[in-house]
Amino acid sequence: MEIAVSTRNISKTYPGNVEALRDLSLEFPRGQLTSLLGPSGCGKTTLLKIISGLLEPTSGEVEVNGKPVTGPGPDRAFVFQDFALLPWADVLRNVAFGLELRGVPVSEREDIAQQHIKNVGLDGFEKSFPHELSGGMRQRVGLARALAVESEVLLMDEPFSAVDEQTRRKFQEDLLGLVERENKTFIFVTHSIEEAVYVSDQIAILLPRPSRVHEILRPENLRTKGVSDIRRDPEYLDTVDRIWASLRSYVE
């Protein structure tokens, strides 16, 4: 199992002495999907931003493909929790924005963007502006933008939180297909235990702030099951129960 991204002894203290992460170490195998699961405010977004190079850790290192991270790079793409769409740009330009910043010529990047707009089901909304879209549609624009740049590592911060349940299930299936087809590494933040178990090769449970990894779970045989059988599999149900057992102590 080759490691694509590794974080070692990461600590992050925000100004004002907010200690978000303490001594967190975690490895992300190539071609697999790792979920980060943990209570709100435990530092999941912080960890993604550190991996992306947007934030510097107070101490500790991040390596992508064996090379230390010093800033954002073409090997990583981010799906933001708050979508971060340009309000003055239409859907097409928003989706193509990552390619625009990489200097891809207009016609080429619009072709690519068009394809990804279709994949997330926003066909026909190319010329709409973000304020004309629903929350779930905006979220899909952010998703398409990250997929359009074809990075090896995808940092997804609650990418399905605002879409409806049907779309969410479809996206989860699509995501499984993507993980299988492409040798990409997915780092996936979610609040849903079921979602984490459904899509993940590896699930990291984080503790409340200051966060460390509490437990790593690796559902072994779910990948071989068909997408529609997973939710009925005993291993799926057991894993969901185990995670709930470990997290419930923090809500009680």
């Binding site: 947007l54 929350g135 905006r138």
Partner: protein
């Protein structure tokens, strides 16, 4: 849909103009003061000044410091505002100047300007700039500083350079407030241009105002004042059109997330 909104706002503008002129006409007829002509008398004076060329001649003089001053204020003001908004030390160094400039009583500064730059064009341009520039600079700087952090982070994560982030995120995001600064600055610049003509040397439109008041030709005086307001309104509308063509997204509303 767009054209409809625009024509509605045009109708509203016309309607409010008619109301104002109507009140003016009535106030002139009462009359509220011996020195207050009716709207109609003022328009007659305006047309006679237009026909005999006095007005055109006057605007040649007035527009020079006005246009030069507003152009300088706009370009220099936006550039300085960007720099102030982007750099903390430049903000610390330069912002106070504009805050003082905005608060300073202009009438007290004019004798000082005349002493240094004489009574020519330079002093008048200065007056226009002092009036117009601070709001342009401070608006621009504030808008730049308040660019949503998540958009800057997004652009950085997709490998935007500093230049990309300034041109493709900060400026478009700040543009509505920059333009509102330009509008306020331009209006102030018009006031500055007339003030300069009243306080430094009477030329152009300022001369018409001073002269017609001294011979009690009130219709001409109000006609001159009216013409400058009309010009300012046209200019502001032009700015709005420029904004609409440059930043199409601006008129489309914003979302907070």
């Amino acid at each position: 849909m767009h054209a409809k909104i625009m024509s509605r706002s045009l109708n509203l503008k016309l309607l409010s103009a008619i109301v104002v002129f109507g009140i003016w006409e009535i106030a002139g007829r009462i009359p509220i003061s011996y020195g207050f002509p009716t709207f109609f008398e003022s328009m007659v004076a305006l047309f006679s000044m237009l026909i005999d060329g006095t007005l055109l001649q006057a605007y040649m003089d007035t527009l020079r410091p006005l246009v030069v001053g507003i152009l300088i204020s706009a370009f220099l003001g936006i550039a300085l505002g960007l720099w102030i908004g982007l750099s903390n030390w430049f903000d610390w160094l330069v912002s106070p100047i504009f805050i003082i400039m905005q608060a300073a009583p202009l009438a007290a500064l004019i004798p000082l300007l005349v002493m240094v730059y004489g009574i020519g064009l330079t002093s008048k341009v200065f007056v226009v700039c002092i009036m117009a520039m601070p709001v342009i600079v401070l608006n621009t700087a504030g808008a730049v500083r308040n660019t949503p952090i998540n958009l800057k982070e997004m652009a950085a994560s997709f490998l935007g350079t500093d230049k990309d982030i300034i041109l493709r995120v900060i400026i478009p995001s700040a543009s509505p407030i920059i333009f509102s600064g330009l509008r306020l600055g331009t209006s102030a610049g018009f006031i500055g241009a007339i003030l300069a003509e009243l306080k430094i040397t009477p030329t152009g439109v300022g001369d018409i105002i001073t002269f017609s008041r001294s011979i009690a030709d009130y219709p001409s005086m109000y006609a001159a004042i009216f013409s400058i307001i009309l010009l300012a309104v046209c200019f502001l509308n032009l700015l709005e059109i420029i904004e609409r063509t440059l930043f199409r997204g601006n008129v489309r509303g914003y979302v907070s997330d």
